[in-house]
């Protein structure tokens, strides 16, 4: 634990960025190498302020780019200690090369991604383009839907990634501005409680352990590369066991329960949307309105985006007639990523609900309860008709003529 303790109130009003930074402070990180970018900048600023006021015993290295931030994190993690950083959007795009190095070298660390659109055109607001950019990077990827969850998932992330059965880096996603700059009630743990939960960092193949000189970042060709990628994938897939354990332990400590897939009123739902990010919480209000109209709506959200909870999400959707997968990212010439994942999950299952793909909220375009209600009403009509209304993919909330693709 850091030598200087910060007394926290039972209830704090923090935005998502402050929630991330507070969890990072409590986790007693050894090295943070970081570079600021909107909307994750306050994470870096807050951490610098904590450091400047003696609340951080570790090193804070303000580097010259996001690529260097992740490079420094990899070097520091390989040296043998706890490491974290934060970024968004273009910054993430710049550091992507090194994301693959971190996971390939099996170096645990935590990366807070405050989700934001990717240029061009330039946009500082939230969508999930950057989240999707990390899909195949081999990191565990956790999603949050509110500032409280950002805090909770950060604490869990260190514990999951550093577990000896896992040893993988972990991303914690939150929506730019909608979470990162939205202050809400947070019920934090006190410093000792949080630090004890995260636990002490256990080094493995550390470069600073000179009793066991180690070489990291070797060259492998067709003779060995496949085995190591297989081993890495196996660790990622089996991290579910540790994730479940950590979530259970966290529930005991905080009373807050987390699942691989979150849902609201899915027990008797006939139609559902699948979402990521803060839309999950807004959609619950839309679900309640729908229920008042007699429409049995539900909402499903992916908490653990990687490893993808294929079975859990499929089970969740077995009793619905129509599902809309909501992708908050320009799909780039195909269906959205979430649609792809969900259709893959459902294909081998008994139920084959109608499945459509909605592209929404790009560049921070507001997703209102009203629009969510409209989506549910359309889904309800499709469920009743027993077929999709003309196409698989459509855009909502964009000005101009209707955009629909993949006619059915």
């Amino acid at each position: 634990m850091n030598s200087k303790i910060m007394e926290l109130n039972k209830v704090e009003v923090w935005d998502g960025n402050m929630a991330a930074t507070q969890a990072m402070r409590q986790a007693d990180i050894d090295v943070v190498a970081a570079y600021p970018i909107t909307p994750s900048t306050p994470v870096v600023e807050n951490y610098a302020t904590f450091h400047a006021n003696g609340y951080i015993d570790g090193e804070f290295v303000m580097v010259e780019s996001e690529h260097a931030a992740m490079s420094g994190c990899v070097g520091a993690a390989a040296a043998g200690g706890r490491v974290a950083t934060a970024t968004s959007s273009q910054g993430l795009a710049l550091m992507v090369e090194v994301l693959y190095q971190a996971s390939g070298m099996r170096l645990p660390m935590v990366l807070n991604i405050v989700n934001r659109a990717l240029a061009s055109p330039l946009n500082v607001n939230g969508d999930h383009s950057d989240l999707y950019l990390t899909r195949d990077s081999g990191w565990i990827s956790l999603c949050t839907f509110s500032p409280q969850e950002v805090y909770d998932m950060n604490l869990c992330a260190f514990k999951i990634g550093e577990h000896m059965d896992v040893r993988l880096p972990v991303i914690v996603n939150q929506d730019g501005f909608l979470s990162s700059h939205t202050a809400q009630n947070i019920y934090p743990l006190q410093d000792k409680e949080a630090c004890d939960f995260v636990g002490e960092y256990k080094p493995l193949n550390a470069m600073l352990d000179f009793s066991r000189p180690v070489t990291h970042g070797v060259q492998t060709e067709e003779d060995w590369h496949f085995e190591h990628k297989a081993k890495q994938h196996d660790a990622l897939m089996n991290s579910t066991k540790v994730i479940a354990e950590v979530f259970a332990e966290f529930e005991k400590l905080s009373g807050r329960k987390y699942n691989f897939v979150e849902s609201y009123k899915m027990e008797d739902a006939e139609i559902a949307i699948v979402v990521l990010g803060t839309t999950y919480e807004s959609a619950q209000l839309a679900v309640d309105k729908m229920r008042e109209e007699g429409i049995k709506a539900g909402v499903v959200a992916i908490r653990v985006f990687r490893p993808f909870p294929l079975k859990e999400v499929s089970d969740m959707l077995q009793n619905v007639k129509a599902v809309a997968c909501m992708d908050r990212s320009a799909p780039g010439g195909s269906v959205g990523a979430l649609y792809n994942e969900i259709s893959g999950a459902l294909f081998n299952s008994p139920a084959r609900p109608l499945l459509s793909n909605i592209i929404y909220g790009l560049g921070g375009r507001d997703m209102t309860i009203g629009v969510l209600c409209d989506i549910y009403r359309d889904l309800d009509a499709e469920a009743k008709a027993g077929k999709l209304n003309g196409s698989i993919q459509r855009f909502v909330g964009v000005r101009g003529p209707e955009l629909k693709y993949y006619k059915v």
Binding site: R106, N205, T215, K231
Partner: protein, 135 residues
């Protein structure tokens, strides 16, 4: 734990493709302990062989050598064995036959000369040239 890495499947490998230089933990700094006293791991390139790269091999004439150590200094393949300030021979497992050692040898005639790989040492020593300019 005697299983060779070459017989291992993906599940048995050290994660992250990390490679250890020594078999076990060491309680010394390698800069203080000569190679013959170290317990190298199978994965140290020390145990690899590149001798077959050679077309010409260096042969050493102990009668002429002044142990100046230039050959030791400039060998790119750590293949000149020196102990206690004296040249003691070649590490033919690691020598690629570049010929730098012959080139930097200051004696007249040279104490190290490159011969074709198949030349026997005795045969090579018999062919050793005379001192240049001695007549």
């Amino acid at each position: 734990m005697s299983k060779s890495i070459h017989d291992m499947g993906w599940d048995e490998l050290v994660l992250g493709a990390a490679v250890h230089s020594f078999k076990e933990e060491i309680d010394y700094n390698p800069s203080q302990v000569l190679p013959e006293n170290r317990d190298y791991a199978e994965t140290n390139s020390k145990y690899k062989y590149v001798g077959d790269w050679r077309v010409f091999k260096p042969v050493w004439n102990t009668d002429l050598c002044i142990h100046c150590q230039f050959c030791w200094l400039y060998c790119p393949d750590t293949s000149i064995l020196s102990r206690e300030k004296k040249m003691i021979g070649f590490d033919y497992d690691h020598c690629k036959g570049c010929g730098i050692c012959q080139e930097v040898c200051p004696t007249n005639p040279k104490s190290i000369i490159m011969f074709t790989e198949q030349t026997e040492e005795e045969e090579a020593l018999n062919q050793w040239p005379e001192k240049k300019g001695s007549k």
